[in-house]
């Protein structure tokens, strides 16, 4: 790709970027949120038309007019935002657009075989091909998406943050697959905010900043610190800043709580000033537990006690009144109202500072929001910009900022750092510490063990819907968590 540029209105997403991908290499694309990585690969896949610049494919100029066009040229892509048709089954989604047919009618058996093979490849045979995708959790959906990219024998495979909602184990499997594909001569573009991953799998890398190419070279030639320096223009002091905080009374307590979709009853308690980490594999039931606490799923059995008040029934609005805040792992379908503006999304859960007699004071609100945008470092042209036009990581930051703006006491965070760049991540860890030191309680669900180990006071491990073990962080290490999460017994 040579001299590729793209503008969206006033935003310059890409400015004269070059990218060279060699046969059989893994090429990492790095940059902070909103640097233009996704836009660049979308141009390659034909989903976005560039304003200028040319692409050469095996020496010939190539300008993909549609995703279909680029797929025909052997480019296969996993987009950052999940792209699945919720009403269709897993099999139908995996084979979408490449159905095997005879005279226009589907050849069921052959397709089933292919799907089985792809699922085996990523070791997720437990996902039934006949299940409707809307019934899967976000993690499982990501697996389906990867399976889709694998059924096709592509020449170029583009992965835009494939591991953002995968567990450690699944990521490992993916890396093995990548290695194998590489030996088969497949070229891979790999986008990720997990820099260690990049160092592990990538042969070469390119760094983007504000839509410009900053650096391109072999992976082994640059150190982690240099990478970060190139990405954001400053050094990262401490990935997991330690902010001292003390735990107080119990604020939230689950007594044998079982929600409609949970597989088992869960007992748990959370104190003021405590950061509780929840670890587990895909489908372990962490999301479902949080959703039940927050009243998004109906309670079937047991009860929960919020600040000494025992309840079993409750809708999200009552939980918010009780001082809870929830960050959904599914920002695309649930987390954000993407056609609304950044201002609206940010303030949706708490209008009270700007409300007088049922009316909003818009100016005051805009001003307040500007502070939050600066604080959370959201890259946005104008606070009235609709959320769908933000980059993936920036959308996640909007969802996070909403929780801060809500001024909750109990934070339920489901994969909050999904798709967020390194620097911002460390900033988020810092806030979590600060919130805890102010006496707030935080439940922190993550599939990324280092961050759990880095900032939590306590870690609980889930296995098949059951809470296996809960211990202070110092008594855990990566190994023992993995054991508990995969085998379901304290390691």
């Amino acid at each position: 790709m040579e001299g590729v540029s793209k503008r969206f209105g006033a935003t310059c997403a890409l400015d004269n970027v070059d990218l060279e991908l060699q046969k059989g290499e893994v090429h990492a694309l790095l940059g902070e949120n909103g640097a233009g990585k996704s836009t660049l690969v979308k141009i390659l896949s034909g989903a976005v038309r560039p304003d200028s610049g040319t692409i050469f494919l095996e020496g010939y100029p190539f300008s993909p007019s549609s995703p279909l066009d680029s797929r025909k040229h052997g480019i296969s892509m996993i987009y950052q935002e999940l792209n699945l048709a919720p009403h269709l089954t897993v099999e139908e989604n995996i084979m979408l657009g490449r159905e095997m047919h005879r005279g226009g009618f589907i050849r069921q058996k052959e397709m089933r075989n292919k799907v089985r093979k792809a699922l085996e490849l990523i070791r997720h045979t437990e996902i039934s091909p006949d299940l409707q995708v809307k019934k899967l959790s976000v993690g499982a959906r990501q697996v389906v998406e990867i399976a889709r990219a694998l059924v096709e024998e592509a020449k170029i495979l583009v992965l835009d943050e494939p591991t953002s909602s995968l567990s450690q184990e699944d990521s490992e499997i993916l890396f093995q697959i990548i290695k194998r594909l590489k030996t088969q001569g497949v070229s891979i573009i790999y986008i990720s905010h997990f820099l260690e991953e990049v160092q592990k799998v990538a042969d070469r890398l390119t760094v983007l900043r504000d839509g410009k190419k900053i650096h391109s070279g072999n992976t082994i030639e640059v150190s982690l610190e240099d990478l970060i320096q190139m990405m954001v223009g400053r050094k990262l002091v401490d990935m997991f800043p330690k902010i001292p905080h003390e735990t107080g009374d119990v604020v939230l307590c689950l007594d044998g709580l079982k929600g409609k979709r949970m597989q088992a009853e869960v007992d748990l308690s959370l104190r003021h000033g405590e950061i509780l980490g929840l670890a587990g594999l895909i489908g372990a039931g962490r999301t479902e537990t949080l959703r039940t606490i927050f009243g998004l799923d109906a309670v079937e059995k047991g009860s929960l006690t919020v600040r000494k008040i025992r309840t079993s029934k409750g809708a999200p609005w009552t939980r918010i009144r009780q001082g809870m805040g929830f960050l959904s792992e599914d920002r695309q379908n649930e987390g954000l109202a993407s056609s609304l503006s950044t201002v609206d999304n940010l303030t949706l859960s708490n209008f009270s500072p700007y409300r007088s007699f049922g009316f909003l004071r818009l100016k005051k609100r805009r001003k307040a929001v500007r502070d939050y945008i600066k604080q959370v470092n959201i890259k946005v042209q104008d606070s009235n910009q609709p959320v769908f036009s933000l980059s993936g990581g920036n959308q996640q930051k909007v969802a996070l900022a909403r929780l801060l703006h809500q001024k909750a006491d109990i934070f339920l965070l489901d994969e909050p750092t999904r798709g967020i760049d390194v620097i911002s991540k460390s900033q988020i860890y810092e806030w979590m510490g600060q919130l805890a030191s102010n006496g707030k309680a935080i439940v922190f669900v993550s599939s990324y063990l280092p961050e759990l180990l880095g900032i939590c006071d306590k870690i609980a491990v889930f296995y098949r819907g059951r809470l296996v073990d809960m211990r202070p962080t110092c008594e855990w290490d990566a190994q023992s968590i993995m054991t508990a999460a995969t085998l379901g017994r304290p390691g």
Binding site: K72, A85, H87, E92, G104
Partner: protein, 322 residues
């Protein structure tokens, strides 16, 4: 809990037929019409009365699954019936007249599809516009009155007692059955059918997976147009005249049938079997109410209520899945 789940098993087993069975049981148990309601001649009339809506509903099912809607269906039926009558009146051979009627419907559908895809307008608006345009053209062609066409075999298509008596039912009813089976198979087992579901479920995904959205949509709307065209021919066959004012508001009946049958207006779900059941629920309701001699307002209230109840039942049936 136990009790509830047993009821749900029954509900599930009877499944999509539940609403239809309910309606039939009700009327079969009213002494006044009991002995007449379930008799063959009445079933034949109901079948014949359902043909036009059923044809419209087949196309509408595709459109609704793809996430669209077609408000122009009824106008399209009227226009096609006028064109057929016009052609027969002008002395064209009946087969050609039928062909022209069906093609007219197809062209209106094609126009819908092209406008929707090329101007990227919402189907509701395009077809609302087309509702007026097609109806206007129908009145224009017919010179603002009905067209009397000489009787031909076209008018036998919807005759309750068909000419070769071994047919048992009107040829139109057979056509309806055959097309329903064909469309059900196409929708379930063809690549085209699957693409329609994908587009309705998530259009962006469908595009990124390389499905030709424009082409698929244009085909869907054209196909639906052709079905409306055929419906128009049937309407002409039934009326023996080309009437530009016929079928006003029928689009809502057609859409209701599809939705009663499990179609979702946000796209991605629906089935031909369901839609056909929806059509027959409404036909039997009308038929039963008329046979009872109930005034129209009672009929309107009852049908309104049944639409809600039928869909609510369907909802309960599906809810247990979670």
């Amino acid at each position: 809990m136990k009790e509830k789940s047993r009821i749900q098993t029954v509900i599930n087993w009877l499944g999509p037929f539940l609403g239809l069975i309910l309606v039939m049981v009700i009327f079969s148990s009213i002494p006044e019409v009991r002995d007449r309601f379930l008799r063959v001649p009445n079933l034949k009339s109901v079948a014949t009365q359902s043909v036009i809506v059923a044809l419209g509903a087949m196309g509408m099912t595709l459109i609704i699954i793809s996430g669209g809607i077609d408000l122009s269906a009824a106008s399209n039926i009227a226009l096609s019936s006028v064109i057929t009558a016009f052609a027969i009146n002008a002395g064209f051979p009946p087969l050609l007249a039928i062909f022209l009627g069906v093609i007219t419907g197809g062209l209106i559908g094609l126009a819908n599809g092209s406008l929707i895809t090329s101007l990227r307008l919402v189907p509701f608006i395009v077809t609302l516009g087309m509702l007026g345009i097609a109806r206007g053209i129908a009145k224009w062609t017919a010179g603002n009155q009905k067209i009397d066409a000489p009787l031909t075999w076209v008018n036998e298509l919807m005759a309750k007692s068909p000419r070769p008596s071994w047919l048992l039912m009107a040829p139109g009813v057979w056509m309806m059955i055959i097309f329903a089976v064909v469309m059900a198979v196409v929708l379930r087992y063809s690549v085209f059918g699957r693409h329609i579901f994908a587009i309705g479920s998530n259009e962006a995904t469908a595009r990124l997976c390389g499905i030709r959205i424009k082409r698929t949509k244009i085909i869907v709307y054209s196909l639906a147009g052709l079905f409306c065209g055929l419906g128009g021919v049937m309407e002409f066959s039934r009326l023996t005249v080309g009437d530009p004012t016929v079928a006003v508001g029928l689009e809502l009946d057609i859409i209701a049938a599809v939705v009663i049958g499990g179609g979702s207006l946000s796209g991605g779900s629906g089935s031909i079997l369901g839609s056909m059941i929806g059509v027959f629920i409404m036909s039997f309701l009308r038929n039963g109410c008329t046979m009872m001699g109930w005034p129209n307002y009672i009929q309107e209230i009852i049908i309104g209520a049944i639409i809600v109840v039928a869909v609510a039942l369907d909802q309960i049936r599906h809810r247990k899945n979670f």
